[in-house]
């Protein structure tokens, strides 16, 4: 059984020294003018933090300033090389178009969190014993979700104004009553990375008490879902 990692243009062999899941040696399978990187296993690899890190590290090793791989979600398996090649070939045109769009770019993730003190309170009051209290807690939770959405939208607007021209593409996911206010993914050219970081610092400084976590560069996971 093969565990699959990412799709690349033809000719991109796995660099020396790269290691896959369960310490297996990765290899490239040619398919329809493309390659897919894989490792061989006796059974599906169970996800764990370490396995997730290894999966991502191998895909990240395929990235450089000219080529950005199409990352496959963890758990994509194929029975053998022929089956893997057949699957990639079947959608080769789509994958090639994506590789062209991703070339020279990487994904950056922005997670925006609120330090609002009533965040925990809403979660706990939802466990109230009486029906009235329970309904009241639901109403508070709804109001909180609405308020968080508004705050998230305001931050996204600020981001779009300052970062929009630097991002080739953007994905936005708003949070609910708890967790992050909003999670944003930007597809940014390597050549614009410094300007992007500077622009994000400006967004952070003008967004009040909200906390920002900026991660990346990532393979473009959010743009192939």
């Amino acid at each position: 059984m093969l565990h699959l990692y990412c799709i690349l243009p033809a000719g991109h062999a796995v660099p020396d020294g790269c290691v896959g899941l369960d310490a297996q040696q990765p290899f490239a399978i040619q398919a329809g003018g493309l390659v897919v990187w894989a490792t061989e296993h006796d059974s599906p690899v169970a996800p764990s933090v370490e396995a997730v890190r290894t999966h991502n590290a191998l895909i990240a090793a395929a990235m450089d300033e000219r080529v950005t791989p199409i990352p496959l979600r963890f758990g994509q398996v194929s029975s053998d090389r022929d089956a893997a090649a057949e699957r990639i070939t079947a959608e080769a045109e789509t994958w090639s178009e994506l590789l062209g769009r991703f070339a020279g770019h990487a994904e950056y993730g922005v997670r925006v969190m609120s330090d609002s003190p009533d965040a925990e309170q809403d979660v706990h009051t939802a466990k109230s014993e009486s029906g009235t209290e329970y309904m009241a807690s639901l109403a508070r939770k709804h109001a909180r979700t609405t308020g968080r959405r508004t705050e998230g939208e305001r931050i996204v607007e600020t981001m779009a104004a300052r970062v929009g021209s630097l991002a080739g593409d953007t994905r936005v996911e708003y949070g609910s009553a708890d967790g992050p206010l909003v999670t944003v993914a930007h597809l940014v050219a390597w050549t614009a990375a410094d300007a992007y970081h500077a622009a994000m610092r400006e967004v952070r400084e003008t967004s009040g008490d909200a906390r920002f976590l900026l991660t990346g560069p990532w393979p473009p996971y959010s743009f192939v879902t």
Binding site: P44, P47, G75, V77, R87, E91, T225
Partner: protein, 64 residues
């Protein structure tokens, strides 16, 4: 239980959640089925048309 010195900071934990969400919940899907265990809790069998729950949303549904 981890000692305070060995516990992750909030930022480290969020960065890890960010990684796990990306690798388990995003990324391209090719045809076929996948067998996967999420968060070490259950072994579940999913058709690939079903989107995996993120670890974060699973935490939200978890019992205390």
């Amino acid at each position: 239980m981890a000692t305070p010195e060995r516990r992750m900071s909030n930022e480290e934990e969020f960065a890890l959640v960010d990684l796990v969400n990306r690798v388990l919940d995003k990324g391209a899907v090719i045809s076929g089925d996948v067998t996967i265990s999420v968060a070490g809790v259950d072994l579940i069998y999913l058709g690939l048309n079903v989107i995996l729950s993120s670890i974060e949303s699973m935490r939200g549904r978890a019992l205390p």
